[in-house]
């Protein structure tokens, strides 16, 4: 069953008083209880995509298309404010890329957790504290009481990231969107994160849509993968489709770079990501592509299906 669907979603943001198109014709659907992973170069629009789903957009953004969310047989239109209000922070929650920016600096961690308790007026004080400590425990704090009494600025990088996670799962969301939740975690804590997700998936059928640069974890723990480049989803499919049969030249270059980090000489993808103000005509990737044909520099390719559900936006794959 589809939990989330984006249909031809487009987003422009305002840069120095000019609208700049970032997300281009994003169409995707996400199944319930699955781990869905977005990968792609910094600046390609992953965070804006995550924020778009809960309409947490920069001022003066312009968008078109549809974002639909299904929950208990009800369909919500997330671009409509009335529907959005019933969903945001209740059934769908977002863990921001940079945890500090989403934490309240003047409230102790404990109070911040208690604030997200549903109907928190009725509960007794001790039950609120218990709720908070349990939640802190869930995100691997061995000393929850200490964290409870600290301010966010008194946490280390990894602790902040876990605290933000606690806030995001505290409302028992049915869809968790997590923007690079692993970046400040050590290997043990990364494992704990995945275990927690598995647990929530099992007991609540929670769905995860997450962004990560940790391709080891992406490969090991995803059901489906979306590869983004310059505001497009250039390849999507099951984790096997994308990692074992990467079919877009960008995905191939990315995986190649990933392998090189395990060897002696790190190899980056040649050239830089094009700026959104200056996207090339034709395929966005052609300035860096080893397989480009003449048509690539002229017209942007359509989506084509390599195999069932494995979709690629590239001429090389068009039949």
């Amino acid at each position: 069953m589809n939990v989330l669907q984006l249909k031809r979603f487009n987003l422009s943001v305002n840069v120095n008083e000019y609208p700049v198109k970032i997300l281009d014709d994003i169409t995707l659907s996400i199944n319930k209880g699955k781990i869905n992973t977005i990968i792609g170069e910094s600046g390609c629009g992953k965070s804006l995509l995550c924020k778009s789903i809960l309409k947490l957009l920069p001022v003066d953004s312009e968008y078109s298309g549809a974002i639909l969310f299904n929950h208990h047989d009800k369909e919500y239109n997330l671009l409509a404010d009335i529907d959005l209000q019933q969903v945001r922070g209740k059934i769908v929650s977002l863990l921001f890329q940079n945890p500090s920016s989403s934490l309240n600096p003047v409230l102790k961690c404990g109070s911040q957790i208690i604030d997200i308790l549903p109907h928190n007026k009725k509960a007794s004080k001790s039950s609120k504290i218990e709720f908070a400590l349990d939640l802190l425990n869930e995100v691997s704090f061995q000393n929850p009481m200490e964290i409870f009494h600290k301010y966010p600025h008194e946490l280390s990088g990894g602790e902040k990231q876990r605290f933000a996670l606690a806030l995001a799962i505290g409302c028992k969301p049915s869809l968790l969107i997590a923007d690079e939740p692993l970046s400040s975690l050590d290997i043990d804590l990364k494992h704990n994160f995945i275990e927690l997700i598995y647990k929530l998936k099992k007991i609540r059928k929670m769905t995860l849509l997450w962004v990560t640069h940790d391709l080891d974890f992406a490969q090991k723990f995803s059901d489906n993968v979306f590869v983004m480049y310059c505001g497009n989803i250039v390849e999507s499919g099951t984790v096997q489709d994308v990692f074992e049969n990467p079919s877009h030249p960008y995905t191939q270059a990315l995986l190649n770079s990933f392998q090189s980090l395990k060897k002696d000489r790190p190899e980056s993808i040649r050239g830089n990501i094009s700026s959104f103000q200056n996207l090339p005509k034709g395929c966005n990737f052609y300035p860096r592509c080893d397989y480009k044909k003449s048509i690539c520099t002229d017209t942007s390719p359509e989506y084509s299906e390599v195999s069932h559900g494995h979709i690629v936006k590239c001429y090389v794959q068009e039949k």
Partner: protein, 258 residues
Amino acid sequence: MIKSKPILSINNLCVNYLTKSSYKNKQQYAVKDVSFSMFQNRSLAIVGNSGCGKTSIAMSVLKLIKPESGQVFFNGKNIHKMHRSELFNFRRQVQPVFQNPDEALDPLMTIEKSIRMALSSNILKSQKRDMIISLLENVGLGQEHLKKYPYQLSGGEKQRVCIARALSTDPKLLILDEPISSLDISNQAKIINLLKDIKEKQNLTFLLITHNPNILKFLIDDVAIMKDGEVLEMSSYNEMILNSQNEFTKRFFRNEIG
């Protein structure tokens, strides 16, 4: 072998965050009696699990927090006893790149201005712009970013601005706190290569903080392993990979995903 003087020495450093919020005013030693020295052109990594005190050491070395006890010497001078001009020099020669680029960049300053502020006042105004452009180019950012504000950049782009800015004062020692953990794979490779290059070209020494053991082999000569505020062991990278008997260390380098 002639033993050169250390560029950085840390003696019996203790960091204790005793804040009003501390639970029952319990003493919390983030760093417990840590000592080590670093020499020019021998880069050191401090590695260990989240919360073990790595950033607290970096902050002490940068003189951004006051340790409870212990001393930090830069080129033989105690950083807490430096005169104004010595301190000024120290701040230019020891540059940080932090874990979180958002906290490092002023949200109200354009990228160009952020870097301009860091450039020496001896540089002619007319040359500054070209320098800024080439510093940015060095880290893979084009001119279109000059007039942008931090909020208009992605996380990875911001981190590259921070590295460009750190390099702008021609430092000797770079303190890198998780410099690549917010970057994508291709940019990780790019930044590792960039750091490798500038290390040689600009004769830099790194103090690198990370929980990612994979990047050490590219950038680092020596490694200190930390756990719960203490240094468990310290040796050259190769020595540690081959011969460490410590279970924690061995597990750390295995870095397996299960």
